[in-house]
C-alpha cells in the first residue's frame, strides 16, 4: 500500500530561521511528487511538481528536492507570511489512471 509520511507535524520558526520539511514515501512506480501550501479555510495551493530523483525546484524562499525515498521542502529565511500547512502528495499509476495520495501535512508557524 502506498504510504506518505510528513515530518514534523508542526514547526515553529523565528523569522529568518531556515529549516526543512520532510516527506518520505513508499510507493510503486512514482510518477510525480507534488508540494502544496494550504492556508486556513482555503483549498491547497499548488507549489511544485518533482518527477525524478535529483530534481530541484525553487520559488522565492522555497526549494523542493527529491530522492528515491523522500522529498524535502527547504525554507530559507522565512517570513510570517510563509505560515501555512505544507502538504506533499505522490502520484502513482493505479488501474489505468494516476492516483494522488496526500500526506497529513506540516503546520508551519513563523514568528516575527
Amino acid at each position: 500500500e502506498d504510504q506518505v509520511t510528513q515530518s514534523p507535524e508542526a514547526l515553529r520558526l523565528q523569522e529568518g530561521e531556515s529549516s526543512s520539511l520532510n516527506c518520505s514515501y513508499t510507493v510503486s512506480g512514482l510518477r510525480g511528487l507534488f508540494w502544496y501550501r494550504q492556508d486556513p479555510g482555503k483549498g491547497p495551493e499548488f507549489l511544485f511538481t518533482l518527477y525524478s530523483a535529483g530534481e530541484e525546484k525553487e520559488k522565492e524562499r522555497l526549494k523542493a528536492t527529491l530522492t528515491k525515498k523522500e522529498s524535502f521542502l527547504h525554507i530559507t529565511a522565512p517570513k510570517p507570511e510563509d505560515s501555512a500547512t505544507y502538504l506533499c502528495a505522490v502520484q502513482v499509476p493505479f488501474g489505468g489512471y494516476q492516483k494522488v495520495t496526500f500526506g497529513t501535512g506540516t503546520k508551519l508557524q513563523v514568528i516575527p
Partner: protein
C-alpha cells in the same frame, strides 16, 4: 482564468437529512477528484472521475455517499441520511487528466459541512 469553484462554501444540516455539494472544475480539465479533510487531518480520497465515468470509487466511506459528473464538467457529491461523523471539509480538485500525467491537481476552497 477561473479556478475550481465549489458551492455552498458552508452547509449546516440536521442528522438524517440529505445534502448535495457542487463542484465546477477548471474548463478543459477532464479529471476531477473529491477529497475529505477532517479537522487537523490530511486529505482522504473519495472518488475520481475521468470525463463522466468514475473508474475509482474506492474511497467512498459508505453507500450513503454517491457522486456524479455530467457533460464532463460539473460534479455533485451527495450524502444521504447524514451522520455527525460526516462533518468535514469536502474538497474538489481538477487536473488535465491521465493523458497528461504528472499534471497537478488544482483545488477549490471546499465546502465545510456541519451535521448537527
Amino acid at each position: 482564468g477561473a479556478g475550481v469553484s465549489q458551492s455552498p462554501s458552508n452547509k449546516v444540516t440536521e442528522k438524517g437529512k440529505d445534502v448535495e455539494l457542487r463542484c465546477d472544475p477548471i474548463s478543459g480539465h477532464t479529471a476531477l477528484y473529491w477529497y475529505r479533510q477532517s479537522l487537523g487531518q490530511g486529505l482522504e480520497f473519495l472518488i475520481y472521475f475521468q470525463g463522466n465515468s468514475a473508474p475509482d470509487k474506492s474511497g467512498l466511506p459508505s453507500d450513503r455517499f454517491s457522486a456524479e459528473r455530467t457533460g464532463g464538467s460539473v460534479s455533485t457529491l451527495t450524502i444521504q441520511r447524514t451522520q455527525q461523523e460526516d462533518s468535514a471539509v469536502y474538497l474538489c480538485a481538477s487536473s488535465l487528466g491521465t493523458d497528461s500525467y504528472n499534471s497537478p491537481l488544482h483545488f477549490g476552497n471546499g465546502t465545510r459541512l456541519t451535521v448537527t
